[in-house]
Structures are given as structure tokens and as C-alpha cells.
Symmetry: C2
Subunit: 466 residues, 2 copies
Amino acid sequence: MVLGGGPTGENLADRVHAAGLSAVLVEHELVGGECSYWACMPSKALLRPVTARSEASRVPGLKDAVAGPLDAPAVLAHRDAFASYWKDDGQVRWLDSAGIDLVRGRGRLAGPRRVTVDGGRTLIARHAVAVCTGSRPVLPDVPGLAEAKPWTSRDATSSKTVPGRLVIVGGGVVGVEMATAWRALGASVTLLVRGDGLLPRMEPFVGHLVAESLAEAGVFLRTGTEVREVRREAPGGPVTVVLGPEDEIVADELLIATGRAPRTEDLGLETVGLTPGGWLEVDDTLRATGVPGGWLYGAGDVNHRALLTHQGKYQARIAGAAIAARARGVPILESDRWGAHSASADRHAVPQVVFSDPEAAAVGLSAAEAERAGHRIRVVDYDLGAVAGASLYADGYRGRARMVVDLDREVLLGVTFVGPGVGELLHSATVAVAAEVPVERLWHAVPAYPTISEIWLRLLEAYRGD
Amino acid sequence: MVLGGGPTGENLADRVHAAGLSAVLVEHELVGGECSYWACMPSKALLRPVTARSEASRVPGLKDAVAGPLDAPAVLAHRDAFASYWKDDGQVRWLDSAGIDLVRGRGRLAGPRRVTVDGGRTLIARHAVAVCTGSRPVLPDVPGLAEAKPWTSRDATSSKTVPGRLVIVGGGVVGVEMATAWRALGASVTLLVRGDGLLPRMEPFVGHLVAESLAEAGVFLRTGTEVREVRREAPGGPVTVVLGPEDEIVADELLIATGRAPRTEDLGLETVGLTPGGWLEVDDTLRATGVPGGWLYGAGDVNHRALLTHQGKYQARIAGAAIAARARGVPILESDRWGAHSASADRHAVPQVVFSDPEAAAVGLSAAEAERAGHRIRVVDYDLGAVAGASLYADGYRGRARMVVDLDREVLLGVTFVGPGVGELLHSATVAVAAEVPVERLWHAVPAYPTISEIWLRLLEAYRGD
């Protein structure tokens, strides 16, 4: 029994059903979840035209052609199509074809293995209940903010019109991606961040380059800010963001993208001895810790291991396999670290692509994280613009790459790229990090010339001291 | 002592110099070689605007902007810059900075370890002579062809003007890439191939898709053809290509791209017991076989292992390390298959990207090659257009992926992608194939959502029977 029909829940249900169990999915909103309607799909549909234009503008023979603004109505219509017009018919058909039962309504635990739907019908799980309810944006505690009805990520990805002036609070992925998209669609954008840079979970050079590029696109970036008060006099009217005495910004919309919280407040967790509202603690098989009987699982954002769609889907595959194995009485060994029932990649090789302009992509540990974790490391940096394939890809290519090498085992702990067209390059690093390929062997993985991938040769040469 | 100053020769000289030996490079043309002036660099400078336009034309908000023709003079000027205006000053400066001596002239062996330059000055190698003279295009034996002065790859990549009508003979990489480029720049292009499809060394579906796309771009493709005669009445005048009785094509230029031969005719190979004009046979350390004393090496196209710039550079790194090791008296073990002195990737993991529209990329063995080699395999195909990241990348995305799995070892023998934007995706496959990463472990290399790289998940799911 799966609570929550986003990509994680759908995949988990599919996995256990494919393994011969029956699966039921309980969802009170749209099947397909945040990703399909208010995150990955619509945001990337908004962003792809931005990067395509940016790249075309850096190529001779096209520069003039793409100098004008994007056709915003065309892009928004495209986004609507990629969000399936906020209807889940396609997803429901898929559930049906996959043999998964759908129960529409709000699922709530009512003691071990028991789930009530909308406070009425009670379902009992034979093998397991998996919580895949995801996360929601959190509004910080700022006077006037809630009353001003700011945009959250849902509004930012689904807005039918381009705001004239948009203020964004938060320099993480949502803030950066939405600043990129709405600026390219014509909005005047101000990006307010509390710290001193963007994308603070990646290597520092990533945020520097993205900030530089956003500034060139005309985004106003203000670091070290704190929103003290927000005022919106009339619904639909302008919103005033107060940063300090005599420091106010007036805009048409305000997007808050400062953090997320687990969707666990109203799940009945208290009926099984857990605390509502918190992140769900799980082990590497995605089974909730501290629940007798071992029938409760949590996959996706809700367990706070890695708040990314692809990682939720990965957890769903692992959890589905683990549930099915245990249902058949197959023991799962703790030692089976990279086997079919352990979400080991969550701890070693989480990839992320930020669809900014330029793209940012990273997997595994940053240098700072590796040091904090006590690894003896060497950091190798290289200017992506010095790679022939990159200079052919875009005039005046600016980018950077870093690999973090574990000196004790001579494997990569993490790799980061920032620059045009690096999104698809990341998976090479993900394979290297997840498979713990020795540096000596990577020397034989020859990058095709002249591609941006030749950065691998440069990084390895630099590491070997060549 | 290195004969031939292309990327392979330059890298080999650099490697031995970095290892503490002295290196001298003998070159009678431009330092930087075919790749810098008449192959990779100019061809990709011509092709990148084509793919950038093609991709922009499949994105909403830009379609109309890029509907017009490419600005050919701008593209050609860009190409000129990327070919360094056919001057090698930059390369010579690099040699200088790397501490490599340059001797301008035609180097020729004159017995063991001896090289004469332009028939005069004699140089004697202390440790080794490396032949890195590459390959040249071959004109087939067709009446009138040589007299008609057809284009070879050099002319096709360096032409200062766009021919009105261009006939290309040969459906390999050069033929396909040049058809793509010159058609986009405005030429009327006819592509003649002897067999039944394009890019015959890749999986068959690659050639099908590229042919379909070339046809849509307006290229006339004729398969199963044989050129029987060529006539050009006046220099610079039209050229007539005779395919059969009453089957003639008249064009302004004719590009012959049907094959290459080693540049070994005039190297004095006979003075050391080898046959001039043939490919140079070498072992996995790139040392020529059948030459007493073991002082002769051959790297790059000339040894026929893999006629690709990046593979030549790889061989240069391996050969340079082997020469330096032997100079120090370090034994090189046969068993050290993936070590620093064995070009093992030449036999297992050669990557290639064809910069056609769409791009084609492959590494390792095709299904047919794997079967011929006696492997017990399973072939997994997947429609790239069905991957969310691909459909976001380009409207109506068409593409395909194949992985060839060795069933005995559960590792990948080869991977092929064809579709927009797959060029940078290839290195993920190259790492997997070169490192022989078990399929079970690839399951933990999670592709970021929504990228085209998610094809990896689909292929692995299909293989596992999920």
C-alpha cells in the first residue's frame, strides 16, 4: 500500500507489482505528483528554450537570428502541454496498464498496516505500507508574508502570465531556475539570497559562474539579505518586500523558495509511534526505523535522504525490491552494500543537474563535504573553456570542472561541472563515482574528440601530474 | 624521435619529454596535423551551427527565429579561425613551451634508429623512433577521377565558398558530416554510397535515422551506386559523375570520401625490413612488430588500430609511457592489460561521435561485432524519444539507444546512441565499457531527471526484465 502517487509512489507500486505482489496507491491530488505538474516537467519545459537560445546565440551564423526575446506565449503553451494541462488521465491510464489499483482520497495511518481513506474506508496492507508523500515548500516566519500570498514553486512553474516584476527569495535550485526562466520570458527579476552566493550545496565556483551569467541576463542579485516584512495592500496588487529601513522592493509577484518540509503532518504517524511533521527516518532498504514489525517504508523526499525525483525513483526501485524480497522470506544482508536492496547511491553518488544557463551538474561529494567526512583527498580543477570541444560548442565558452579524488583508494568521491551543455556529461561522472572506478582505469576511458567530455582527459592528466 | 607532428606525434613527444627524455618532432607540413586544419577542428566548426540551429528549431519560442538559412560567410569565417587560418604558429609555440625540438622537413628512416631529413641531415634516436604520420584519403580507381581533381576531406573542410551543387561519394563519417554541413550552408548535395546505408560501421539503425534526417534536410541520397567514370571538361568547370548508362549527375564539386591509406610510402620502411605503403603493425605498447631491437613505434592512424584523433592521442600517451619505461629499464608485463603501458581500449572501448544531425555516438562492439567475436550477448534497444528528458530537449525527438551485454560476465560490450544531443552522453558508456562495470552496479548509477541520460535507466530496466 503506497501513500502518495508521485513518481516515487508510482515506481514503488510498479516494482512490487512486477515482483508479484498486489499494489494500491492512495492519492488525494493529481497522480504523477509534484514532478509532473509543478516541478521537473514544467520547469524544464520553461528552461529548455532558454538554454537553446543561449547556445544558439553563441554560434556563428545564428547569433543575429536569436537575438530577440523568446516567444513567451509559445513557451508557456509548451509548458502547459508538458504539465499535461494539470490533468492526470495519462498517469491513471499508466497505473491501470501496470495493474496498480488507485484509491482517490487522503490516506492516513490508523495503527500498524492500517490506512483509512478520507477518514472512512479502511485498507489493510498484507506486507507493507510505503509513505511517498514527498515534501512541500515552507514559508519562513516573516510578518505579512503568508497574507501576501506569495508564489511557491507551484505557482512559479504554472503561472499563465509573465509577471512584470518578480522578486525571488532563495538562491537554491528553484530560485536559480525560476530566475533564469522568468527573466528570459521578459520579467524584471530580483533574486534575494540570505548567504553570499547561489547554489550553496555545490562547489563554490558553480554559484559564482551562475551568478555572473544571471547578472549578464539582467537579473538583479542581492546577497546577504533578509526579508523583514512583506506587504500586499490589495489581492493581485503590487507586493512590497522590506529588507531594511528605507530598503524596500516593489514587485508584482514574490516567489519564496527557501526550503521544504516533509508532507507528514496529517498521515497518522502518531498511531504507529512516530512524530507527525518530521522527516521519516529509514535504513538503506528504505524501511522506517523504530516501527515494530518492519512493515513501514518511506521513499522519496519524505525521508530527507536526497530531495530529487530521480533519487526518489531509485529509492522506489530499491524499496520495491526489498519489500518483495521480504514478502518471499528472502533475507536481506547488511553487507550487500551495492546489491539490489540497498540504496547505497543515496550516500555516495547522488547526481543533480541544475538547468540554469549555464547548466550546473554535480555528483557525489564536494571537496568540503569530502573533507568533513574525513577523506584524504586531492582536488583537481580545470577550466572547461580550455577544452577544444567546449570552445567549438559555444563562442567564449565559460565553465569549470572539479574532481575530488580519494587518495587512499584512488577513486573519485565527487565531480562537478558548470558550463553550457554539461547536463548530459554528468552521467559519465555518476558511473565513475557509483562504480568506484579506479583512476588508473579511467585513464583508458577515452573521450571522443572534440567533445566537451575531453575535460576528463584534462582532469586525469592534471591529477597524474602530466 | 617522432615522425609526424599531428596530435598523436605531438602528444607522444610531450609524454616522453615529460618523462625525462628528449624529444624531437619531424614534420614537413603544418604542425598540428590533419585534425587541426583539415579534419576535426574545421569540420566541427562547420557542423556546430548546424546542430545548434536544428535544436533551436525544435524548441518553442525559437522555431520561427531560426527558420532561415545559416549565415554562411559567418560560419566559414568561424571555421577559418578554428583552423588557425592554416598557420601553425600556435602549435609551434606549444612545442616550444613543452620543450620539444622541431625539425621542419620530410623525415625518412635510414636503417635502425636513423632518420634523414629531406635527404640530408641525419638524426639518430637514442631510445626510439615513433612513426605518427597518419593517413591520407585514397581515390578509387575510376576513369577520369584523378584528372577531374575532386575534393578530398581537406578541400571539403577548407573550401572558401559554398558549391552550388556538391556530389559526395562515400557514406562514412566524412561523407555524412560534409553532406550535413554543406547542405545546411546552402549547397545542393547528392550523397552516393556503394552499400545500402550510411555509417556502416555503427549499428544499422544509426544509418537509417541519419539518412532520414539528411533526406528531410534536402540531401539526395542514392544507395547501391558505383561511380563508373568522372569527367571535368575545364578546370573549375562542372564535373559529370557517371553512374551508369544514361545515369549521370552534373555538379560543381565532387568529394571523394571512400577510404584512407597509411602515410608510409616514403618513410624508408624498407631500410628496416618493413614494406612501404602498408599499415604499420604494432603490439599493445604500440611497438612495431618484426623490427629487431624494439626501437620502432607506430601510433595513430598509421597502425590502423582506430583511425580517430582521440584514439591516436591515447596511443601516444601509452606509447610515450612505454618508451620512457623501457628507457629506464622498467619491464613491461604482458599481463598488465589495463595498465599504463597497454592500449587496451583500442580493442575494447573505442568511442566515436559523428557530428551529424542528429548526432551518432558509439563505443565498443556493435551487436554484429560482438557476435562475430563469439560473445554470448543480449541486445537491448530503447526508443530515445520515449525518455522524458529527450522530449523536453527537442520537440518530436527521434533517437534510439542500444546496449550489448556480455551474458557471461554481465558487463557491457558496446553502447550506441543516435539522436539530438547524445554526443556528450557517450562518455558515460565509455566509462562503463572501459571499466567493465557490472550491470548490477550500473543500477546504482542514477541518471539525473529529466535528462536524456535517463535512457540508461530504461535500458537497464529492459535488461533486467522489469
